[in-house]
């Protein structure tokens, strides 16, 4: 179902970002990003706090307005390819006191496929349960989500991404605040996804594990510092350039620009 109406663009890169600039309402600013993600790789997005990593993902998903630039998902604008992109937001971005079970949350990944105004039937609940099983959480399917540990909550999010059966996954800090067992489970899951031909872009904080978990790396600090295979790009020199402090001028210009963007809206 995912091979969109034979547009002949199957050879297109999963994600092409051209000349992207985002400045929006106190969110970190990103400047002139040009990037083409290679297919079937695990790609880490690395950079200091406030470097615009989450903003970059949000821009790819049309969640924040762009000042300029173009984003193509498998050769087409995102809005035509929603079904092929899976999103794992930061764990803190949702209210875990919400009265839903783990299974309910996973089933949310299927809402698009189920369609407007139709109920989540037993067939879809079974799919959700299978996804939970893949992350080792089937036994906790009916737990209220507040009663799950941080690692278990993250697994629920990953299961929700799995049921989307996307080809490109954007993940915002999937490893943040999880226990060692969950970290290993996530790594294994990512490798299975890669084996199935999926492409994963994940914001990652732990520099120690970048080389071990990922194939490619995108070094970001408001602008693209470097991108490519880990062994070529993940060098001390590049890291120093990435983490060498934000450029104060860029920050100030960006701030002023974000004010103007608000006024224009």
């Amino acid at each position: 179902m995912n091979a969109e109406n034979g547009s002949g663009k199957e050879s297109a890169s999963p994600l092409v970002i051209r000349d992207l600039t985002v400045a929006y309402h106190r969110k970190p600013v990103i400047w002139d990003i040009d990037y083409e993600a290679p297919a079937g790789r695990l790609i880490a997005i690395v950079g200091p706090n406030g470097a615009g990593k989450s903003t970059l993902l949000a821009a790819c998903l049309d969640l924040v307005p762009r000042v300029s630039g173009e984003i193509l998902v498998f050769g087409q604008p995102f809005r035509r390819q929603r079904g092929r992109v899976g999103y794992v937001p930061q764990r803190e971005s949702v209210d875990w006191d919400f009265p839903v079970s783990a299974l309910d949350v996973v089933a949310m990944g299927l809402y698009r496929r189920i369609g407007w105004c139709r109920p989540v039937t037993a067939r879809y609940r079974k799919l959700a349960l299978e996804a939970l099983d893949r992350v080792g959480m089937a036994h906790l399917a009916h737990r209220q989500i507040r009663q799950l540990s941080g690692g278990q909550q993250q697994r629920v999010f990953l299961a929700r991404a799995l049921v989307q059966e996307a080809d490109l996954y954007l993940m915002d800090e999937p490893f943040a605040g999880v226990d060692a067992a969950t970290e290993r489970a996530i790594v294994e899951l990512l490798r299975n996804m890669r084996a199935a031909g999926k492409t994963v872009l994940a914001v990652h904080h732990d520099l120690q594990t970048v080389a071990e978990y990922f194939d490619d790396v995108v070094l970001l600090n408001m602008r693209l510092i470097a991108a490519g295979p880990v062994e070529q790009v993940f060098t001390i020199d590049n890291l120093r350039r990435t983490y060498g402090g934000k450029l104060a001028l860029l920050d100030r210009v960006g701030h002023r620009m974000s004010m103007d963007v608000q006024l224009e809206r």
Binding site: R82, P99, M108, Y111
Partner: protein, 458 residues
Amino acid sequence: MWESLDSWIAATGAVAASACALPGCFLLLRRQSLTGDAISHAALPGIVLAFLAAQMARQAGWLSDAGYEASRQLFLLAGAVVLGVGCAVGSEWVQRRGGVEPSAALGVVFITLFAVGLVLLRLIADQVDLDPDCVLYGTLENSVLDTVPLGSLVVPRALLRHLALFLLNLVLIGLFFKELRIASFDPGLANAMGIPAWLMHYLLMTMTAFTAVSVFESVGSILVIAMLIVPAATAYLLTDRLVVMLVLAALLAAASAWLGHAAALFVPRLVFPWLGYPQVTDASTSGMMAVVAGALLVAALLAGPRYGWVAQFLRRRRLATRIATEDLLAWLYRNAERGQALLPLESGRISQVTGMSRTRVRRAVGQLVRRRWIERTPDGLRLTAAGHTAAVNLVRAHRLWESFLAERLDVPAARLHESAERIEHYLDSQMLDELEAELQLPERDPHGSLIPRQARDE
């Protein structure tokens, strides 16, 4: 006494309250409780303006008298919904432009609209039949007098209107249940998947405005606020499932209406003579509905299964007892280490030595005897084999934690014991194995006491 008219009043109130409770659940979960409040206030100028517009249309001859009577209700609804939703839109605009907090923006907008509404209402109140009191408090008792025949029954028109509203809300929430759920829980994902969260936001705002203004004539705009949020909050305390929460909220709202009307009839006659005001014989039904809804919320706070204070109190006491029994067990073990296997029977002396209160000691001893971890002998208390196993694991936890603190965190020796006293109750055997591996099987703790190896009860 309760007459058939009272049943109709209660039923009308119940249906109105249930209709409010449904969108109220989503408002509560989206932390927009204040929005419901704001919308029902902001609807006031809409009602007045729509009323004026309808009057002007009649005077200008655009509407016949009959047409005016027929469409008046629709005019009022439209005016209220437009201003109610306008309030939500306007406050978001103020929030973005002014860079102020969401609740502050909302407060500014709805209070202003409400004030404008009140001023308009006062200006025209003398010429028209729109009564400010009726807008604020509603006239549930009178509204049931306007009836229509339905088969062999004579049913209040208001009841039918509220029933239609309730069904409308039910259908809308049923249709958009999963869209409302995802847009409320994770708007980012909803947007990314092509389910626009803002659309759901405005669906809910429109529903709230429509509901608030449809029932305000019966129960008053102040009670609308109570019925939007209070039953939903009560239901939230009682369940972990969204569907159950919606059903419970509707039922609780209906129960508040029935109990509220009964209370309005009977409570004043009991209470006021005693207070010295025998002339007061009844109270406003809608006021009592709000009081009962509040009482139900308090009851849920006290007695709710998981978050209720009673449940929490019991859980805390159970934990305190567990800690006391474990402390006592460890203390017996340490005494046994020093060659003193038998301990005095009186709780008073144990209390003196261990620093636990007498009642706590008595409860802990009872608990340990029941579990057969200690036995009473004529000469004193003694650990059983099972008790010994349990005690070994506790003491092991205590001493391993002390070693860990001393070695890894450089905590000074004088402060080790206190921390370990607390932590020993929370370390399970898997964590202990990890600690042991981390410290490479330490022999003795920082105070020089032997760390016992793990004991398993076979």
